[in-house]
């Protein structure tokens, strides 16, 4: 009987503790606070480190994953290296990946990251140029003579491309200040 009473009391205290913040704060405020907390978590602000340190740490983890995968793919492949079985390959890849992640220089890490991002960004910016260039090359199709309409279409495509490039440049300049 006493046990049951203690259990009921502890449950009610627990329920009170859970419900109390909801009663004390406006529900909208609570949700706003929650969303900002989630965003803060995504920023990794709670670690209390500078932005560059956070990026470098994340890059180190990614480099670890990359090197581990590459080393494991090579060492565990029986056609390439025949002396390791899967267990040895795992240990060797783990050790090598950890060494690489620990001793990779900070500046080099930033440069590699910047270079890789630049390549991808140039591909994304160059996409419309290549696509419109391909269309200009292919219009008109096989066994078709080029008419004035085709030339007009190509002209419109060029103007469209110029507009896209102008919009990209405008936003880039805004970003660059």
């Amino acid at each position: 009987m006493i046990k049951r009473g203690i259990r009921a009391l502890s449950r009610s205290i627990l329920a009170l503790l859970i419900v109390l913040p909801l009663v004390a704060a406006n529900p909208v405020e609570t949700f706003r606070g929650l969303s900002s907390k989630i965003i803060q978590f995504g920023n990794l602000d709670f670690l209390g480190l500078s932005d560059q340190t956070v990026i470098l740490s994340l890059m180190r983890i990614l480099i670890w994953l990359l090197t581990f995968t590459l080393f494991f793919a090579v060492t565990s492949n029986e056609h390439i290296i025949k002396i390791f079985n899967r267990k040895y390959a795992t240990v060797i890849s783990l050790v090598l990946a950890t060494i690489v992640a620990l001793f990779f220089a900070d500046n080099l890490l930033l440069l590699v990251g910047g270079g890789a991002a630049a390549i991808v960004a140039f591909i994304l910016i160059g996409g419309p140029v290549v696509a419109v260039g391909y269309l200009l090359w292919k219009i008109p199709g096989h066994d078709h003579e080029e008419h004035a309409g085709h030339v007009f279409l190509k002209l419109c495509l060029c103007v469209f491309l110029l507009w896209i490039l102008g919009a990209i440049k405008f936003h880039l300049l805004q970003l660059g200040g």
Binding site: L110, G113, G114, A117, A118, A121, F122, I125, G126, V129, L136, H147, A148, V151, F152, K154, L155, C158, V159, L161, L162, L165, G166, I168, K169, L172, L173, L175, G176
Partner: protein, 45 residues
């Protein structure tokens, strides 16, 4: 060193190059279209 600004600088240069190429193409196709239309008009008369 700000890497994003470094990248933006290069991207703007690349865009300038692409835009000048496209402007040349527009002028080229404009002349081509005008030539076609003129030749069609003169053959029609």
């Amino acid at each position: 060193m700000d890497y994003s600004l470094f990248f933006i600088d290069h991207a703007v240069q690349f865009l300038d190059l692409a835009m000048s190429a496209v402007i040349i193409l527009i002028v080229w196709y404009g002349f081509k279209l005008a030539a076609r239309l003129i030749s069609k008009q003169s053959s029609g008369h």
